[in-house]
Symmetry: C2
């Protein structure tokens, strides 16, 4: 479902350049459950942004569902980002002037869903992540872990077939983390593909495959022995 | 050094109210090392903001170094926030248009330090957190864990006697987390007071005392048996 070859991402800053990703090649099948790990600054979020069609590589190719992403037109990419992929950002990226409910309902606007249906669905997902009593709060009226859960809910609201979650439990206590991991487990069991970045071994234990990055390259790519 | 009695914090939102902190009383001596834990939304960041003089309680009293904070004038509070307390925010709160170096040097401006001395000191602290090669990057040109480390460096640059760190390792891999914990250990050994919010038992293990919140109240407050 996902195939990247020789992906490279270079950031140019004036006279210096940062080689965020040097040469990444990997294949991920439908319904895999992958954990992406590695040191701070090793390129995980950069790779996730490329996989989520939120950014383009400096060189290399990306095939998603058999289609070459670099050849897609904007409307195709927008459709994929909205309908096929659910992206949980490491820094949440919520809209500050919208409530939790409105933030979560936003991806549904694109699909032409009626307002009532959008708010009902958003309510349902917010309930699922334990925020049923916080739906009218704006992001700055929420705790760090609550904002993180709104970001997670927003990623799930369109029932996407690929979940890209960048550190989804970084701000959550153990009990709430486990609730989120159960939600991801259900999504995976339903046949979808889950790729999550994490620093925590307890979280990566839920994945079936663990890919480790270092300095923009794949260091190891192995099955999770404990599953 | 820190004494709070019957602290209460209520957020009013239109017709509803959120009792973020209900009735918090505790004493923290100079040179203690405290971990503050508890579920997402239990009031940890709210309490940290009150301790850091970044917010005022709805009721209750706070004595810092023997002085009653509610009676202080703005200039006294500003001095404390700048010189006495180093605060690491859960969501970093970096200035987006300043580089990492400028962000870290900012607290030194208040103290009338020369520009060269400010940048030298900021450079030194950024080196200490492993970001010596990222000093000119702005926050959006940094990884999540790098932004977190800039926030930590900024909190340390004035050599404060009280460190309030709200989830300082949430976005860091194990190795980098341990480097940060070593820095906090050194600061503690030098006689300073460290209070850190964390969700991770591995991190709380470094503290000598663990306070757990639940629903805006102290649930447990105990010595760390393993130290
Ligand atoms: N400005 C605000 N207006 C209304 N409610 C608020 C506001 N800020 C925080 N809250 C609520 O107060 C409660 C405590 O928030 P706080 O940020 O202290 O939690 P926390 O323990 O730090 O959680 P986390 O572990 O998720 O960071 C939460 O339930 C939150 O929704
Ligand atoms: N816009 C940018 N301009 C310049 N350099 C950048 C930019 N964005 C990221 N970088 C650099 O690229 C490298 C990879 O960043 P990335 O965000 O992918 O790391 P990461 O593995 O997600 O780290 P973390 O675990 O800390 O979140 C980092 O060293 C970072 O400083
Ligand atoms: Mg990242
Ligand atoms: Mg918090």
């Amino acid at each position: 479902i996902i195939s990247v070859q020789n992906l490279q991402k270079i950031y140019i800053m004036g006279t210096t350049q940062v080689n965020a990703l040097q040469d990444i090649s990997l294949d991920i099948q439908k319904n895999e459950y992958v954990a992406l790990m590695g040191p701070s600054g090793s390129g995980k979020s950069t790779l996730m942004n490329l996989l989520g069609c939120l950014d383009t590589p400096t060189s290399g190719e990306y095939w998603l569902n058999g289609n070459q992403v670099s050849k897609m037109i904007d409307s195709e990419l927008a459709e994929i980002r909205n309908k096929e992929i659910g992206f949980v950002f490491q820094t949440f990226n919520l809209l500050p002037r919208l409530s939790a409910l409105e933030n979560v309902a936003l991806p549904l606007v694109y699909g032409g869903v009626s307002k009532k249906a959008r708010l009902d669905k958003a309510m349902e997902v917010l309930d699922e992540v334990g925020l049923g009593d916080r739906v009218d709060h704006r992001p700055n009226e929420l705790s760090g872990g609550q904002r993180q859960r709104v970001a997670i809910a927003r990623a799930l609201v369109n029932n996407p077939s690929i979940i890209l979650a960048d550190e989804p439990t970084g701000n959550l206590d153990t009990k709430t983390s486990m609730e989120i991991m159960e939600i991801l487990e259900k999504i995976h069991d339903a046949g979808n593909t889950v790729i999550l970045v994490t620093h925590e071994p307890d979280i990566s234990e839920h994945a079936h495959r663990i890919i480790r990055l270092r300095d923009g390259l794949i260091e190891t790519d192995e099955k999770n022995e404990n599953i």
